[in-house]
Symmetry: C2
Subunit: 312 residues, 2 copies
């Protein structure tokens, strides 16, 4: 019995550019909106005793003729011991027979598709040609948001904030090549004061950003909340914002809006559109001053990127 094909993060990063990842992720949204792919609900394996969890994300993508599952962890204390919080493995199968096609590290792939969602949201929802971007949370996800967004906009400036200042400093160096001005902020309010786009990628379980902290008009891309009970934004931000999600069900259960919905401060009807609907032109929105894009991460995107890699 032979060993299956194994694809590493390095293979992925060498082969798929941010620009390509954006195109594949965009197409995955469109295919999903057209019901050309399937994505049952995630399940969680709770590891509260170790301040973490695992998530199982199955999917089927007709375009690449593959089915599979991403298995991804989230362990908040990992960075303290020099490990990433989030690591992932992807199994890819033939949907017609179930045969194993390949196994992939899916950590880099997760970063690419999450960054791509930020870029897609920016293209659809940010009118500024040269936006000022604020990063709340300065880990790997924040870095890939910049890597992808710079593919579609000239970035005027980047402001970095992290509760651990060292993280902000490390990220500031990494993203220095993508803009003329990188700042490290000592408070969230300072970091956000001039932002056109605010990107939150923290593991917060309590809001760290309120209406009082943000400019009168901005696009907020909320990445961090991806499990029940997680929340980065105070509910006062949600009340008068245009709300766009990647998936209505998944965002309602485990995205940024999940606590507001479970506390009945927001109804699912307050969701204005999905990114997929916007991409296929299924929406006619009048955008408010504050726009929230609630990104939870979709298995169809991970699998589509794997399919793209395998076909390349």
């Amino acid at each position: 019995m032979k060993q299956p094909r194994y694809i590493t993060d390095d293979d992925i990063l060498k082969t798929i550019s941010p620009a390509e990842a954006i195109n594949v992720t965009k197409q995955a949204f469109i295919d999903y909106a057209k019901q050309k792919s399937k994505m049952p609900e995630k399940i969680y394996l709770d590891m509260a005793e170790f301040n973490g969890d695992f998530r199982a994300m199955p999917a089927y993508v007709e375009r690449y003729n593959i089915a599979g599952i991403k298995w991804v962890n989230s362990h908040k204390d990992n960075p303290k011991q020099g490990l990433p919080s989030v690591m992932a493995t992807l199994i890819v199968n033939n949907p017609k027979t179930g045969e194993l096609i390949a196994l992939l590290d899916a950590t880099a792939l997760t970063c690419l598709r999450t960054g791509s969602v930020g870029a897609i949201a920016t293209k659809l929802l940010c009118k500024k040609k040269t936006p000022k971007i604020t990063l709340i949370g300065c880990g790997k996800q924040a870095e890939f948001q910049i890597k992808c967004i710079q593919e579609i906009r000239t970035i005027e400036s980047i402001s970095c904030y992290d509760v651990v200042t060292d993280n902000a400093e490390v990220l500031a160096k990494k993203v220095a090549g993508y803009t003329n001005e990188v700042m490290i902020s000592s408070s969230i309010k300072e970091a956000c004061s001039l932002a056109d786009i605010i990107i939150t990628t923290t593991p917060a379980k309590a809001p760290c950003l309120s209406l009082y902290d943000i400019p009168q008009s901005c696009l907020i891309i909320a990445i961090g909340a991806d499990a029940k009970g997680k929340q980065e934004l105070n509910h006062d931000i949600l009340k008068n914002a245009t709300i766009i999600v990647d998936d209505i069900k998944q965002a309602s259960h485990s995205g940024e809006i999940n606590t507001a919905i479970s506390e009945k401060k927001l109804s699912e009807h307050a969701i204005d559109a999905t990114l997929g609907d916007m991409l296929v032109g299924n929406t006619h929105l009048t955008l408010k001053d504050h726009i929230l894009v609630d990104s939870t991460g979709l298995a169809i995107q991970d699998l589509a990127l794997a399919g793209y890699y395998l076909q390349k």
Copy 2:
């Protein structure tokens, strides 16, 4: 980034004997009954368009300090093209950090743990020292039932029945070494007429065995039904049988009893015990003439076997 450790089916079969698999599976039941392991509900990725599905089975096993997920398919038409219906891959992680420990073919492992459940059920519930065994459905699962049961009982005879007679003939040759008498039956009634133990491992979605087919007293080990809507036994068998399951929730949703429960012909209260309860001595049952063991397959067993392999 280095390739992860990959363990093949051959590695598993060379390293874990049926006797060892029975011990590990038994211990997994006991640990689960003592809440020393975790197992969220399976999720299914439906592939009805290809007459199949995939299942995601996450678990945590404290004894071996591992978490992980089994991803397993079930494609009914595979044997027509010379492929097994069921193939599986297992991802094993460090539960404290989420780091990947190993990847395993889990097809052989699935056969071993399923066979082990048959052996455990036989040890607990079959009084006959030299039972006559009937196999309804003659694929890989049936073979491993015999491989495992022969570890704990001298098998008097084996009667094989399959809708495809060729399958019964192939299996009859494979199990010939485990008993003095192997028969191929031309009907289910004939196959079951003298059985002490009847083992069903078919992919049936409609009952193929009724009260009329079985002896006045027997142990039925029902393996095939492992998804909503699947069923091998007519409900008339369930009515007056002692019902033992591997897991109450999983069996009620997707085991042999799932259709009877969803049609309100049986209540969850009709379940007399779990195999785990019996193993830890938590039950005082008066057994009826017909005993049904409803085996759905537990992720904790797969993971425990992987843990045993990795520790060995």
